[in-house]
């Protein structure tokens, strides 16, 4: 948890500095768009939930629950394992700042 917080703090600092990380976050988040919609706006939220507007701590908690198996899934338990803590923090921050559908 300490490591995760550190990563989150680093990413927040980075964003605050207005560096390239703002772009990195949007590029990284586009990886999720195939299923969850562009910038997390699902075109079929009954089928696959959107991610836009999710609170960052909730997003991180859910991704970790997928990774540990605490939350059952068809595919997210497999995909979530491909992302680092830092990447998950970046994603959480990015999606939390997108307006909900």
């Amino acid at each position: 948890m300490k490591i995760r917080l550190a990563a989150l703090a680093a990413s927040v600092l980075c964003l605050a500095a207005g560096g390239a990380s703002a772009q990195d976050a949007r590029y990284l988040a586009s990886v999720c768009a195939n299923c969850h919609g562009t910038d997390g706006h699902s075109a079929d939220s009954q089928g696959i939930p959107g991610l836009a507007g999710l609170a960052a701590p909730y997003f991180i908690e859910q991704m970790n629950a997928f990774r540990t198996g605490a939350r059952q899934a068809t595919v997210m338990h497999q995909l979530s394992k491909g992302f680092t803590d830092q990447q998950i923090s970046l994603l959480a921050d990015y999606f939390s700042k997108q307006k909900k559908n």
Partner: protein, 431 residues
């Protein structure tokens, strides 16, 4: 410009790009993004499929008015290959698979429906059949695949009228469905699968399920013979085998290492390299594949005389500068499938790289995911998924160890997800 870019790339590598640290490294060293209304450049995108349409959409999404984006395709609308096997099974129509370009036009993408005649990478110019010449600062070539019909003796232009591939969705998909509808109960459908790599690894096996699903309901005495040039099912093997043995018991005769090298169109017979003959009522041949012909014409095919090699940091061609190649046409990175989902990820990687380069920043390597859903009937679905990242040492994209996998069993929840996937990815491509 090129020297500038390669020196940028070296800086990125020195920073340890590809690792999570690369992100922070970039933060620490890169200047703040400039907000500017001046034009940064003109990008031509050839091919409005999963790769090209995504690239065009995201160049606008991220590049805004500063980057002029022109998308060229010979087809007046997009028809999706993913889910098109369901047209054969009867639960979708080709209209369900079709998306127009109006969303992209509304975003400011110039869409030209025309055929590319020639690409001159030294003059940075693309010649169109009807609309004249177009110049570019950066070119994105996303031509998909073409077929090596010559690899199957007898599959000439005349034979191609009756022996279909339906491996590019559209009229062929509709025509193959008609052939299946016209076939009498008790008939034989023969599908031949080429050696990998080919477009959509699980696609042929999904097709077998869809044809079996149709036969089971409407022509239960019919048979399916699968002639696979590969040594076994190339994707989701145990899952497909189980479905065939249980749900479609007694209907499917799967034969590995049967490489079809010849057809006799008149008797609808497939002939393997060892001379075995299989007569069909409906013969569906997937010929060996290669990068779309325009890539070859442009001099971008430089791997095994079939595929286009790219630098996986930027997806820039290794054969020409300022030219990026995406999707099925590329020589795939290790464990990377030729899929629509993956081509969409390529499109974003290219868009990000071009936006960064045109803004004078160093492009960062992209993460990519893949999720391929296969319908085993009209509702139940299985998937294969993977995550891919850039390996700075190997200078390519590799699968992230420990991530990815397949479904435990066919299920309807993933059927819902697969349909939502289609809606979301098509909207992601076409806005």
């Amino acid at each position: 410009m090129d020297r500038f870019n390669s020196s940028r790339r070296r800086v990125v590598q020195a920073l340890g790009a590809g690792s999570a640290l690369g992100v922070l490294g970039a933060c620490a060293t890169q200047p703040a993004p400039m907000v500017s209304t001046k034009t940064l450049g003109r990008v031509l995108v050839v091919g409005a499929g999963y790769g090209g349409a995504t690239a065009a959409r995201y160049l606008k999404h991220w590049g805004g008015a500063a980057i002029e984006v022109v998308l060229i395709d010979r087809s007046p609308e997009f028809v999706s290959c993913p889910l098109s096997n369901l047209v054969l099974g009867g639960s979708r129509t080709i209209a369900d698979q079709t998306v127009g370009y109006q969303g992209l036009r509304a975003l400011g993408v110039t869409v030209i429906v025309d055929e590319v005649d020639a690409i001159d990478t030294s003059k940075k110019r693309v010649s169109l059949k009807k609309s004249g010449d177009q110049s570019y600062d950066r070119l994105v070539v996303s031509p998909g695949i073409d077929f090596n019909f010559g690899a199957v003796q007898g599959l000439d232009a005349e034979a191609q009228k009756t022996i279909l591939h339906a491996w590019k969705a559209g009229q062929q998909t509709v025509d193959l469905r008609r052939q299946l509808e016209s076939m009498p109960d008790g008939g034989v459908y023969v599908l031949s699968i080429p050696l990998a790599p080919y477009r959509c690894p699980p696609g042929p096996y999904e097709r077998v399920c869809q044809v079996a699903h149709y036969f089971k309901a409407h022509k239960p005495r019919s048979k399916i013979i699968v002639l696979d040039a590969n040594q076994g099912i190339t994707s989701k093997g145990p899952l497909f085998t189980k479905v065939w043995n249980e749900q479609y018991k007694g209907m499917i005769d799967y034969q590995p290492t049967r490489n079809v090298v010849e057809v006799d169109a008149r008797s609808r017979t497939a002939i393997t390299e060892f001379g075995d003959r299989f007569r069909a009522d409906v013969l569906n041949v997937l010929p060996p594949q290669m990068a779309g012909a325009i890539a070859n014409k442009a001099g971008l095919v430089n791997a095994n005389n079939r595929w286009c090699q790219v630098d996986w940091m930027t997806l820039e061609s290794t054969a020409a500068t300022n030219v990026h190649v995406l999707g099925d046409a590329t020589l795939s990175a290790p464990a990377m499938p030729k899929s629509g989902h993956m081509a969409n990820q390529h499109g974003k990687a290219v868009a990000a790289a071009i936006v960064e380069i045109m803004n004078g920043r160093a492009p960062q390597p992209a993460m990519m995911t893949n999720t391929c859903y296969s319908f085993v009937d009209d509702r139940n679905v299985i998937h294969v998924a993977s995550v891919h990242h850039y390996d700075a040492e190997k200078k390519t994209i590799v699968a992230v160890p420990g991530a990815g996998g397949v479904s435990a069993a066919p299920n309807t929840l993933e059927g819902t997800y697969a349909n939502a996937w289609a809606k979301n990815i098509w909207k992601d491509m076409f806005a």
